[in-house]
Amino acid sequence: MKARAMKRLLIAVLLVSWRVAAATEATPHRIVSIIPAVTEMIFAIGEGSRVIGVSSYDHFPPQVERLDRVGGLLDPNVEKILSLKPDLVIVYATQAELKARLARASIPYYSYEHRELADVMQTIRAIGARIGATPAANRLASDMEQQLDDVRRSVARLPKPKTLLVLGREPGSLRRINVSGGYGFLHDMLVTAGGANAFGDVKQQSIDATTEMILGRQPEVILELRYGERPDAAAITREIRDWDALPSLPAVRDHRVYILSGNEFVVPGPRLVDATWRFADTLHPNRH
């Protein structure tokens, strides 16, 4: 009985995967992208006109503001997605429920995940191949690799300041500080831009760092990322002054605490190159 049930399940799985595989061969013309990074990649490849729906967090390039919104990573609106009649949906790897529903509706999907910096270029090439734009995608990816190499070369002979890369904290205080560990695209960008990650030995994308952990590691530079709207100059000054509570940090003593704002720091797409240049310009301002 059990063996028979297993056999049936196996056949069902094979059938479904065959149908998905068969469907994936066609070149898509109605693409829904739930990940802002992927939306940016498709537009940068030059195929933005084929995107018909984006996530509620998409704001770049400006053309996406006119497109239909289909929810986000945690709350995708399946009904909305189906109503757009897409022939390709690009989802994030963890959206298992959404993937199952798309498979049931026989809508092809492409599952994407961002980890390290090199994966971004890999993804661009893979998505280019999937949507039938291989040459343009390869050009974009190679161009990005070239530019990242340029950044790397521009800082190659300079000392690597020990840098604390802050991803978030409780507003107005030094509590619940979330920093980049030694894994992930932000860490890779920091290293490419000629910094040494103060928490590089902890192989996690993000770490909750206490004041003791930060005092113990004595960072020479603090880069704090802000997403969304750029805060005004007074607000930036106030936020930098929060760090005066830890006066022994070399970064505080040498006035090397910086607030960098912009969505290019959280969207691991083509704009990562600009973000990496900004890291390098902040870490090594006098290198040219």
């Binding site: 507003p171 205080s173 509590r175 619940r176 909750d208 003791e212 106030r238 509570a245 006066p247 959280v266």
Partner: protein, 325 residues
């Protein structure tokens, strides 16, 4: 017995600052020839560790005392500082501050803890109104039901605020809701001390009446207790200390319900011993859990709420089994 709890707390306060995720030299920390701004060891000791131990002591004592009081007042062994919704009220205040308020108020005070405390006071107001809605005394059933409804309602408010906010704000809220004793300076401790001191004044009048109240309101009244007045003092003190603790450290679960029972298992049911005993032991317990949180996964540190439940649960069961034998 209270003396033993006091001695334990003094010992914990002296030893806990020596442990941490980094190694420091005490000689260097107390070296006066180095200016404080350059002395890393002194800063780790005085900016990172000492405020943290103090915060743990105050939060642990406040939550444990509130737990004892709520359990006696509501005559329910499952009552906890969170039961009447005051802790949730603080969380709602913090969530709103994180999403919609400037990070600092005029005078430079950090908004989040103040908003959290304001939220807890608002929740206390609702609970207090419930308690006086019936003219003669308060019904513990009404209070309990009201508290459960308020907690659920405020939980929905938190979900709603999180739903409306963007992902970085959501991440900050999730971090706040995990609780943290890493207060980073003495300023938030000083602020929390004010309501905690008022609550302590209230607690000082309670032990004898709590003994009588836990037997029932009528029998307490027959022995000359001003039931309505004592119940309100108990309600307000326990709610104030819960609100102060949550606004200082965020919600830290489990301690407030289990420490009172641990102390009762050790010393019996007399509130003259249980109330101060629970406050002292709660302080030591949270300091101890926080040391484990700081050391167990060094160089990383765990949120202390995980440790209170993982250590406290089995320890409590062991106490119960030992008594049963």
């Amino acid at each position: 017995m209270t003396g033993a709890f006091g001695a334990l707390l003094i010992l914990m306060c002296l030893l806990a600052p020596l442990a941490g995720s980094t190694t420091i030299s005490l000689v260097r920390a107390f070296d006066r020839s180095l200016p404080f701004a350059d002395n890393v060891d002194a800063q780790i000791l005085f900016i990172a560790r000492l405020p943290r131990v103090l915060a743990a002591a105050l939060v642990g004592a406040s939550l444990a005392a509130a737990g004892v009081t709520f359990q006696a007042l509501l005559r329910n062994p499952l009552a906890a500082p969170e039961t009447l919704g005051v802790s949730m009220g603080a969380s709602v205040g913090a969530m709103i501050a994180i999403t919609a308020m400037p990070p600092r108020l005029v005078g430079g005070m950090s908004t989040v803890p103040l908003a959290a405390f304001a939220g807890s006071v608002a929740a206390l107001g609702v609970v207090y109104l419930l308690s006086i809605a019936r003219s003669r005394g308060m019904s513990t059933t009404v209070l309990l039901l009201g508290g459960v409804v308020l907690t659920t309602f405020l939980g929905a408010v938190i979900s709603f605020v999180q739903y409306l906010s963007d992902y970085t704000q959501t991440a900050r809220m999730v971090r706040w809701l995990m609780g943290s004793l890493d207060v980073g300076s003495y300023e938030p401790i000083g602020l929390a001390l004010i309501p905690m001191a008022i609550a302590a004044g209230g607690y000082a009048t309670l032990p004898r009446t709590l003994d009588l109240l836990s037997l029932g309101a009528e029998s307490a009244a027959s022995r000359g207790v001003d039931v309505v007045r004592s119940e309100r003092i108990a309600l307000v003190s326990a709610s104030l200390s819960t609100g102060a603790a949550v606004s200082l450290a965020g919600p830290i679960g489990f301690l407030g319900i289990v420490v009172p029972h641990m102390v009762r298992l050790l010393v019996g049911a007399d509130h003259r011993v249980v109330l101060p005993g629970a406050a002292l032991f709660g302080a030591s317990f949270l300091i101890g859990c926080d040391v484990i949180a700081r050391r167990a996964f060094a160089p990383l540190e765990l949120p202390v709420g995980i440790v209170t439940a993982i250590i406290g649960g089995p320890f409590f069961l062991w106490l119960v089994l030992r008594r049963a034998r």
